[in-house]
C-alpha cells in the first residue's frame, strides 16, 4: 500500500507543499495559477490515496498560505466536493482567521459541504 506522503508534489511557483505522515498537507506561500491542472491532479491524488488507505481524516494546514487567486479557491472547493461525494474521510482544515480569504472561503465551504470538512483556527 502506497503511503499518503508518497504522492508526488508538483512544482508551483511561489508555493511550498509539505506532506507529513500520516495524513497532513501543509501549504505555504501563494497560489496565483491561471492553469490549476497540476494542483488539481495533486489534490485528486491525495484524495485517492486517503480513500484507498482508509484514512479517517486528512489535515490540511493553510495557515501560511498568504494569497490565493480565484482559480486556487476553486481547487479547494473541488477537493471538498470530492470528500463530500465519497464520504470516505473528513478534511480537517487549519486556518488563520487573520487571513481574510481563509476565513471567508472556508466558512463558505462549510455551508456547502458541512459534513465533509472541519475548520479549526490556529491560535
Amino acid at each position: 500500500m502506497k503511503s499518503f506522503t508518497d504522492v508526488s508534489v508538483p512544482a508551483v511557483p511561489g508555493l511550498e507543499v509539505l506532506l507529513s505522515a500520516p495524513n497532513r498537507v501543509t501549504m505555504k506561500g501563494t497560489i496565483t495559477l491561471q492553469d490549476g491542472s497540476a494542483l488539481s491532479a495533486f489534490f485528486r491524488a491525495l484524495h485517492g490515496r486517503a480513500r484507498d488507505n482508509k484514512l479517517g481524516e486528512v489535515e490540511l494546514d493553510v495557515t501560511s498560505l498568504r494569497f490565493v487567486n480565484s482559480s486556487a479557491i476553486r481547487l479547494f472547493v473541488d477537493w471538498a466536493v470530492w470528500v463530500h461525494g465519497d464520504g470516505a474521510y473528513k478534511l480537517r482544515c487549519r486556518i488563520d482567521r487573520r487571513q481574510t480569504w481563509q476565513k471567508t472561503s472556508f466558512s463558505a465551504l462549510i455551508a456547502m459541504v458541512d459534513d465533509a470538512i472541519v475548520v479549526e483556527e490556529a491560535s
Binding site: 496565483t32 491561471q34 494569497f67 487567486n69 480565484s70 482559480s71 479557491i73 476553486r74 472547493v77 473541488d78 466536493v81 481574510t100 480569504w101 471567508t104 472561503s105 463558505a108 465551504l109 455551508a111 456547502m112
Partner: protein, 194 residues
C-alpha cells in the same frame, strides 16, 4: 511608472448602463489650501488621485508581475493592512480585465483616496460581457454572502467564473465597489474601507 497626475474631471458621457455602486465614488476635487506663511512639505494629493498607472493589453502575461509590483508599492505607501486588502482587489480586477477584455489598453491605477486607497481598472469588452457584469453586480449588491456561495458552487462545476473575483473584492476584503460603463469601456473601482 509613478507619475504625478491631476485628478480626472467627472465623467459626462455615460451610456444607458447606469453605474452600479455599492457606495459612492466621489470624483476627485481640488482642496483649497489653508493660508500659511510657510510650507515645509509638498501638499498631499487631492482625494482619489492616481498615484500609479500601468497600461497593458488584454491577454497579456503581465498579471503576476504587475500584481507583485503594485502590492509591494501599496504596502510601502499605505501600510500592510491596507495593501493586504487592496492586493486581492488589484489581482481580481486586473485578472478579469486581462482575461475578458477585448482590443485596447487595460489601465490599472492605484488611487489615493480621502481616507483609504483604492484601485481602478479600465478595459474594453463586449456588450454581452457588460450585460453579464451588470447582472452579477446587481446580485452582489443584494447579497454578497449568498453570491459568494453561489459562485463557489458554480466554480466546482469545472468553469472558473470571473465573478468569483468580484465577490471576493466585496465580501472577502470588504471593498466599496463601483462599476461604470461608457460604450464598451468598463471601469471598475474598488476602495478599501479601512
Amino acid at each position: 511608472m509613478d507619475r504625478e497626475r491631476k485628478p480626472d474631471p467627472p465623467s459626462s458621457s455615460k451610456t444607458a448602463w447606469s453605474s452600479h455602486s455599492s457606495g459612492s465614488f466621489k470624483s476627485p476635487s481640488h482642496e483649497s489650501q489653508p493660508a500659511s506663511a510657510t510650507r515645509v512639505a509638498a501638499p498631499l494629493p487631492a482625494p482619489g488621485t492616481t498615484v500609479v498607472q500601468i497600461l497593458c493589453s488584454s491577454g497579456s502575461s503581465l498579471l503576476e508581475p504587475t500584481h507583485a509590483y503594485l502590492t509591494a508599492y501599496c504596502k510601502a505607501r499605505f501600510g500592510a493592512r491596507a495593501s493586504d486588502k487592496l492586493s486581492v482587489a488589484i489581482y481580481e480586477l486586473l485578472a478579469n480585465a486581462i482575461a475578458y477584455g477585448s482590443l485596447g489598453d487595460v489601465v490599472v491605477e492605484i488611487l489615493e483616496g480621502t481616507v483609504t486607497p483604492g484601485v481602478r481598472v479600465a478595459n474594453n469588452t463586449t456588450m454581452a460581457r457588460i450585460g453579464m457584469l451588470n447582472g452579477h453586480v446587481s446580485k452582489l449588491r443584494a447579497d454578497p454572502g449568498k453570491t459568494l456561495l453561489d459562485e463557489m458552487k458554480r466554480s466546482s462545476s469545472g468553469t472558473v467564473r470571473p465573478m468569483l473575483g468580484l465577490v471576493r473584492v466585496v465580501h472577502e476584503v470588504g471593498c466599496q465597489l463601483d462599476v461604470s460603463v461608457t460604450g464598451q469601456r468598463v471601469v471598475v473601482t474598488a476602495f478599501s474601507r479601512g
